[in-house]
């Protein structure tokens, strides 16, 4: 029987890249850190806060996200939005994800490519 620890590691590996994809999709609608965390969790992408917050900054530095401070509410919040560049990267990632799914289906059904 596979240990929980092993299983957890594999699931983590599998999920790792999807956080970026999910964030880029979700941030087509601008949002701030905590609200994005809630949305992602609500859509079945549970992500640790200490992973997501630094990730958002990194994606911003890479030019995949743009940001804007909103100071109208009770506390200042930084709203992130997927940039044009982020959108094109997202399309590549989604295509690749679809390819992976197709390949997996093919493998499962035993069909030669």
């Amino acid at each position: 029987m596979v240990s929980d620890e092993t299983l957890r590691t594999h699931l983590q590996e599998l999920r790792r890249g999807t956080v970026v994809v999910a964030s880029l999709i979700a941030l087509r609608r601008p949002d701030y850190g905590y609200a994005l965390l809630q949305r992602l969790t609500g859509h079945g992408f549970p992500v640790d806060a200490n992973t997501l917050y630094p990730l958002l900054r990194r994606l911003e530095e890479q030019g995949l996200l743009t940001s804007e401070w909103n100071t109208e509410e009770s506390r200042p919040r930084k709203f992130y939005r997927t940039s044009d560049e982020g959108e094109s990267v997202l399309q590549r990632l989604l295509d690749d994800l679809a390819d992976v799914q197709t390949s997996l289906t093919g493998l499962i059904e035993g069909v030669e490519r």
């Binding site: 701030y32 850190g33 905590y34 806060a49 200490n50 630094p54 919040r77 930084k78």
Partner: protein
């Protein structure tokens, strides 16, 4: 604003590059407050909510490292193998060489031959620690600065000839040859520069200069043959019976003259022996001779037995 959050922010921001500190501070503070609000909406009291949120965010140093994209490892996979290889190579012979050289210098220079062994061992250990520290430091800096070492990429041609059964590794062979070269160099060196002055300020050789007529050149030649044998051993990669036989011949060619010369009191320079009262006494000189002879015999027997056992294992 509660103090736990303040302390958490301070601890996190300390390790974040200064240029981005303020912006990260404002954003992270907002995020923490949002998370606390979220927990309070679920019915927690403020203090518990704050504790839970900060616990969830985890060690500030780790969070800061994620913000700064900093590596939480001393030496990562890029450099680890190069580090390990260099470390093994250097530690295989440098500390022992330095220790022996210092010990020998101390023994010939000082009045206390017994203390020289301790001095040699201590210096060897210090050298090992220095090597380990500085090599690791250099690689840790490379890791952090992302410097490319331009190491040649691994190719299949680097595969050892018989990697499964290689008994004699490159490190072993390099260490053995290093030793031999050192001893070969020491024999003439001690004649011209033994670090023991004569009474009139000249140089007092450790070994009897009369031996230069034949025995010392002979021993140097035997050691040179031994270097050749080490190379042959490495190329073969394992002990074979011809190598064992050659090894026995070379071992005996060195050990028998040394033992015989020591036994007949012809190895050490008489002037050197008489330089010290302690060594000059008959019983002390005999003790030293016995130790040298016993040591030589033991090393030779061990070396021969070791080679024979390994060769035997290869056959069976």
């Amino acid at each position: 604003m509660s103090s736990l959050t303040d302390r958490y922010l301070a601890a996190t921001l300390r390790a974040v590059p200064a240029a981005r500190r303020e912006e990260i501070a404002t954003e992270l503070r907002g995020s923490i407050e949002d998370m606390i609000d979220g927990r309070r909406a679920e019915g927690r009291d403020p203090a518990t909510a704050e504790r839970e949120v900060l616990t969830e965010l985890g060690n500030p140093a780790q969070l800061a490292a994620r913000y700064a994209d900093r590596r939480l490892q001393l030496i990562g996979p890029t450099y680890y193998l190069a580090w390990e290889r260099l470390m093994k190579l250097l530690l295989s012979f440098v500390p022992a060489t330095v220790g022996i050289v210092v010990g020998v210098l101390e023994a010939t220079d000082g009045e206390n031959p017994g203390g020289a062994i301790g001095e040699g061992i201590a210096t060897g250990l210090q050298t090992a620690i220095h090597i380990a520290f500085w090599v690791t430091l250099v690689f840790a800096v490379l890791e952090r600065t992302n410097t490319s070492l331009n190491l040649p990429a691994w190719t299949v041609d680097q595969l050892p000839e018989d990697h499964v059964n290689r008994q004699i590794t490159l490190v072993d062979a390099a260490a053995a040859i290093g030793w031999l070269v050192l001893v070969i160099a020491y024999l003439p060196l001690q004649h011209f520069r033994s670090f023991v002055p004569t009474d009139d300020g000249g140089n007092l050789p450790l070994l009897d200069p009369a031996l230069w007529s034949f025995w010392l050149p002979f021993l140097m030649a035997v050691l040179a043959v031994n270097v050749g044998l080490e190379v042959a051993k490495y190329r073969a990669g394992r002990w074979t019976w011809p190598l064992v036989a050659a090894n026995i011949v070379v071992d005996l060619a060195f050990a028998v003259p040394v033992v015989w010369l020591m036994w007949t009191d012809r190895l050490l320079n008489p002037a050197f022996v008489n330089r010290w009262e302690w060594l000059g006494r008959e019983e002390n000189l005999n003790t030293i001779a016995t130790i040298v002879i016993a040591g030589t015999v033991l090393v030779v027997l061990w070396d021969i037995a070791d080679s024979a056992i390994k060769a035997y294992r290869n056959r069976h």
